[in-house]
Symmetry: C2
């Protein structure tokens, strides 16, 4: 039996910060995140036995690859510790977690650092859009001549829902509003101080301009500088960590289950493949149910909250029915009846999500799991879901190409 | 106990090809490699349960990331199969192997595809040098204003050897000549038809011009388009594979051991850290001895041949003493006495290595392990090391930042 994988602690940066404006390079924030992460988790660098990075765009935004070499550059105590970088577009952080967890399950190492990082605000917005535009889709074959490729594809996801089941803008706007509202309670959220008016979430073309198709300004995740770190551990090391601090092992957060499925890189084949099926992305449903199965639970009713990908409101709209919160095509019901809002049946993105908290691409999967850990240990502060014992994540790369879900519980 | 990891088979492309000149994109060659790899290993796409990619520069050369999404784009039978990409500069391929092996050891999956790929000849040579120049070192902090950063750093490695132990050009030239000679016997080698004259390996500035410092033209690995694929399997799946084909499990190639250490990304701290030590890169020695230990062997005497990183002749010069073929600083002896040539005590790079066979960055680690597998199964054709039963690799990313070694044997 492989070792279960525990989470000793973690940390995330304030997603409001603009690193370039502070005169910081990606290495500076890698260092700060690693050092503050160790402090927050009460670990020494010498405790780390393996290190994984999630990052998508450092080559394009910072002319920097090979981020595994940053660990030992931060702290000589990490010299020699094996390290590597994982990339699966916006799911890079979750790939890094899966890779670290596999090493622990295999018995290779006892404690792993997983650091997700992305620096994106050091170039103009159009350049940022171009940088992440081609590389995560089938470059040169999709969205040719389209100014904003990702809003375009996720608008088409909305079109597909509309075609199969009907889709009204007000339900997408409702998702956006919940995320922005939640972000106001998250001290790390990029948009926590943003203000909106009565027209911000309407189809008013000035207050909420169209980016592409049915995707308007408020339907978009944020371009964000950010990093997050987690420390994963084997049962043996988690036990020692807990014992030393007088914490019962049952109180330690643990990855109870996970799912990981990858589809073809292009958007069209995915939609073609699901033509006669209830779910628009059956493989995303499979990722979620794989995580249920490995966690030994029967469905979303046994989950107390979700941190999901919402790069656009249509992404979260898709996540709602794919999690089984509503039957396929009826995600709008969960928006209308308050199911996914704080205090609802199954709160989604109490952190604010990618729309409200921000979306530093390679950091997002790590940040999601960190938020899940905060929730199940009662440390989510003003965005705590009362009494949460089990949380689930859904992290997506590309047009639902790389899809990864974790279930986090305790003990 | 984690499952041992077997190799069912693999394939590499002809490194002489220029993909852009053939009108091919990186996806086309990903597809060809995967399909021919399955054919060579006598596997169906449906046998694959997880998939890993090693790649360094696709964003910079091809504006393409997210290569995990290519698997299902090649073959619908791979839709849903979990996939991810690993990056550690020139050691990306070995990181992908380690990641796939960890999943098998953890019992997650039975058969993994590991595909390393790099397309680099689609841009002019100076652009290629710039693309790989900054991203694998500490960008903006090392080699500022240096035209060819990698020749510069590996020339400095030669300087360090010269300072500690003395180093003559003729021994670097000897390494180059062995690699080019070996490549003539490898039907996949980029340089197999290249011809040299009496001055090619001398310090003649016309026949063998200086690139940077003590690195001359013939001291350099090649800029190469190439891909390689391996199929790894658990003991259970390898047993079934062998039984179906009437092969005894003892004849199946297996990863007997591995080492993986990562140093600080910059060159200077590494040299400073080893100042008073015999080995210039003690962590590289550690990577090699970790692999010995995990393979249950005492040293290089129990290895029949080596495929090592030789991005430059100084890299291989370093590898020779770090493997323990000579005492530290005396690598020149193994060049002079024929130890590392075909038929010698411990042949190095019978394939031709990065200098003779070529160096498609993210493919190199996978290609090395594939060559080790060919050697221990007697399938290396004209570059077979007679009777080889155990082979070792050494793959290096950056200035010996990411260092990974595998020991491959049988049964």
């Amino acid at each position: 039996m492989p070792s279960p994988v525990y989470v000793l602690g973690g940390y995330q940066t304030d997603f409001k910060r603009n690193w370039a404006r502070e005169g910081l390079e990606i290495f500076d924030m890698f260092r700060e995140t690693l050092q503050l992460g160790l402090d927050h988790a009460q670990l020494d660098a010498g405790d780390i036995e393996t290190a994984h990075v999630g990052n998508f765009t450092a080559e394009l935004f910072c002319n920097q690859g090979h981020l595994g070499g940053f660990f030992a550059a931060v702290d000589p105590a990490l010299a020699g510790i094996p390290a590597g970088r994982h990339e699966g577009a916006c799911a890079s952080g979750s790939l890094a977690i899966l890779g670290a967890a596999a090493e622990i399950e295999a018995g290779r190492y006892g404690v792993a650092a997983v650091l997700g990082i992305e620096m994106m605000r050091n170039v103009p917005g159009d350049q940022a859009a171009a940088n992440i535009g081609g590389a995560a889709m089938w470059s040169g074959h999709e969205c040719q001549g389209v100014k904003y490729p990702w809003p375009h594809l996720f608008s088409r996801l909305g079109d597909e829902y509309d075609r199969r089941y009907g889709l009204q803008h007000k339900h997408l706007a409702g998702i956006a509003k919940i995320n922005f509202d939640n972000a106001k309670r998250n001290p790390n959220a990029q948009t926590r101080a943003w203000s909106f008016d009565a027209l911000s979430f309407t189809e008013d073309d000035e207050a909420n301009p169209v980016i592409d198709g049915r995707i308007r300004k408020q339907d978009c995740g944020q371009v964000t500088d950010g990093a997050a770190i987690l420390f994963l551990a084997s049962a043996e090391r988690a036990h020692a960590y807990a014992a030393k601090r007088g914490i019962p092992l049952e109180a330690m957060p643990r990855i109870e289950g996970w799912g990981h499925r990858t589809a073809s890189i292009a958007y069209d084949p995915k939609i073609a493949a699901s033509r006669d099926q209830d779910y628009v992305f059956p493989h995303v449903r499979g990722t979620i149910t794989d995580a249920f199965r490995r966690a030994g639970i029967s469905g979303v009713d046994q989950v107390d909250g979700i941190e999901t990908h919402d790069c656009f409101t249509t992404t979260e709209y898709m996540a709602i029915d794919h999690f089984g919160i509503t039957p396929p095509g009826q995600s709008w019901r969960a928006v209308e009846d308050g199911s996914i809002a704080p205090g609802g049946r199954i709160p989604i993105n109490p952190s604010g999500g990618l729309i409200g908290l921000g979306h530093p691409v390679g950091a997002t999967g790590v940040r999601m799991l960190l938020d899940a850990v905060k929730q199940v240990t009662g440390k989510a502060g003003n965005y705590q879901v009362d009494g949460a014992k089990r949380f689930q994540t859904l992290n997506i790369g590309g047009s639902a190409t790389t899809t990864i879900s974790f279930v986090v519980g305790r003990g």
